[in-house]
């Protein structure tokens, strides 16, 4: 934490968690999809479901999905801009259980090329966010650093292959988490990096035999 975190950020009110954090959650969700969606089904849980109107959480999530930053003065009218841009969106309430963070949103997103992604994430306070599920895989993604997300087969050496490919491009691994459904089954890695990962390196990782998919997720402001 530094003085800019204390005297700032500049944001549209009224709430760092329900407004600024919601913008960042939308931004991160669009980053995971790989582009601004053309269709967004958004489900709000807990406090997000109850107080989203008063806090402009719905506007903030749409703003983030359209790639706007938390200090964008258009946020209070994000729905109008979304309609003009042809974004087909909907909001519904959902109960994701009592163990789920109260400021949680679930996104079912469709990109212009037809690709789909389901993302669950929370605004965890002070504008910070945590995405904890992507297409059913448990992850922990904060958006503070650029990251890559893999879906791969749980085989010996695959982690070393991926990290050595990153190292060969001069990319330093900051944090790393590995999840798997069952031994030898499908697994997933979230690797947060200190540098952006060039597309060429993403392609190299994608070409590895055990990798089913890999995506680069840019950090969010």
């Amino acid at each position: 934490m530094n003085i800019i975190d204390i005297i700032g950020p500049v944001m549209i009110g009224p709430s760092s968690s329900h407004t600024a954090g919601a913008v960042r959650l939308g931004l991160l969700a669009a980053g995971i999809l790989g582009s601004s969606p053309v269709k967004a089904e958004i489900y709000l849980h807990g406090s997000f479901a109850e107080t989203h109107k008063g806090h402009g959480t719905d506007m903030a999530l749409l703003a983030g999905l359209m790639g706007w930053l938390p200090d964008d003065a258009r946020i209070p009218e994000a729905d109008k801009f979304a309609k003009e841009a042809g974004l087909d969106y909907s909001f519904d309430k959902v109960d994701l259980g009592s163990l789920t963070h109260p400021n949680t949103a679930m996104f079912k997103l469709t990109a212009a090329d037809g690709s789909k992604c389901e993302i669950i994430g929370a605004s965890v306070g002070g504008g910070q966010v945590l995405v904890n599920s992507i297409d059913g895989f448990p992850v922990e993604l904060t958006g503070k650093l650029p990251a890559i997300l893999t879906v791969h087969e749980d085989r010996k050496g695959i982690i070393a292959l991926v990290t050595s490919t990153l190292a060969s491009a001069g990319v330093n691994v900051a944090t790393m988490r590995v999840f798997r459904s069952n031994k030898g089954g499908l697994a997933s890695m979230v690797i947060e990096c200190d540098e952006d990962v060039p597309q060429g390196i993403i392609n190299l990782i994608a070409a590895l035999q055990q990798i089913h998919s890999v995506r680069f997720i840019a950090s969010v402001a």
């Binding site: 934490m1 530094n2 003085i3 204390i6 005297i7 406090s47 109850e50 107080t51 008063g54 003065a73």
Partner: protein, 294 residues
């Protein structure tokens, strides 16, 4: 190795030992932390002052919140104060501090653009104190920018030793901390020495200790907007005492630690969950019921 907590008392000692003002000491410290020049740091602070001024002006247009619960109080106080029969109990400096503090808090509630210093919910306190002093002491933007660095330094210590979030420590941690930051900055901007800044911080926490976070319907409106106004007054009162040479018996670090300890012992119902305090009064519950039914 366990990392030592930041210490306002250590900074005060270091500044005094090297013969520096708190502004000089904290500008050097924070420029080093950010790996930027002192000029860049102050330019960043001046850019924040521009946004703060815009948020005051937006609030003073009499904006109302999207929920319809609040709005127009800052404009009303300003207009009332321009009438002949206005009961100016506090004096103009304190009145203006309340006007500006509530203007920003109302701008925030109306989805205006604000500087979350230290948080969105407590974003009115620093603007109230800074722009009232600017008006009445004719302070330059440079002095205000340096004051923001002092406020930010105090906030860093509070964030490290306790918390700035109402959800963690109650309103004492949010509007209360904003008041402590503003009080220390006010002392600095009016020429007080580092020790006096520490006393001002400690005095504020004595007076806001235990303040709960109890937002009606969970919205950053009632009682948050008036709390921003009253915490601006707490800051001015503490600064006035400290500048008069009155000392606080409890050192600043220990006062901050006491605030954390009180925050830890506050029940969850009084930490931003709308589970107690003003949020569960019959009037609040009745309004919330209608609002949630919409």
């Amino acid at each position: 190795m366990k990392k030592d907590k930041l210490s306002l008392n250590s900074w005060i000692s270091e500044a005094e030992a090297s013969g520096k003002s708190m502004q000089e000491f904290l500008i050097e410290y924070n420029a080093k932390e950010l790996e930027c020049s002192k000029e860049e740091l102050l330019a960043k602070m001046e850019s924040m002052l521009v946004v703060i001024k815009e948020s005051i002006d937006f609030g003073l247009t009499g904006v109302r919140s999207h929920s319809g619960l609040t709005g127009g109080a800052a404009k009303r106080l300003l207009e009332a104060s321009e009438q002949k029969q206005f009961n100016n109990i506090l004096g103009d400096k304190a009145k203006d501090a309340m006007v500006y503090a509530m203007a920003v808090a109302e701008a925030n509630a109306a989805m205006g653009r604000i500087v979350a210093a230290p948080t969105a919910g407590a974003s009115g306190v620093l603007p109230g104190v800074f722009f009232a002093l600017k008006k009445h002491y004719n302070l330059s933007d440079q002095v205000l920018a340096e004051g923001l660095v002092v406020a930010g330094g105090i906030g860093l210590v509070i964030a490290d030793r306790a918390s700035l979030a109402g959800a963690t420590g109650g309103c004492q941690a949010e509007c209360g901390s904003a008041a402590a930051m503003a009080a220390g900055a006010a002392v600095a901007m009016l020429g007080g020495n580092p020790a006096q800044i520490g006393h001002a911080v400690s005095i504020v926490f004595k007076n806001v200790l235990g303040l709960v976070c109890d937002p009606v319907a969970g919205l950053v409106e009632v009682p948050c907007i008036k709390r921003n106004g009253s915490c601006a007054l707490q800051a001015l009162a503490a600064a006035e005492l400290a500048l008069a040479g009155i000392e606080s018996f409890i050192p600043a670090d220990e006062a901050i630690d006491a605030m954390k300890s009180v925050g830890d012992s506050l029940p969850c119902a009084l930490k931003e969950t709308a589970g107690g305090g003003m949020a569960t009064t019959p009037t609040a519950l009745a309004w919330a019921k209608t609002y949630f039914a919409k």
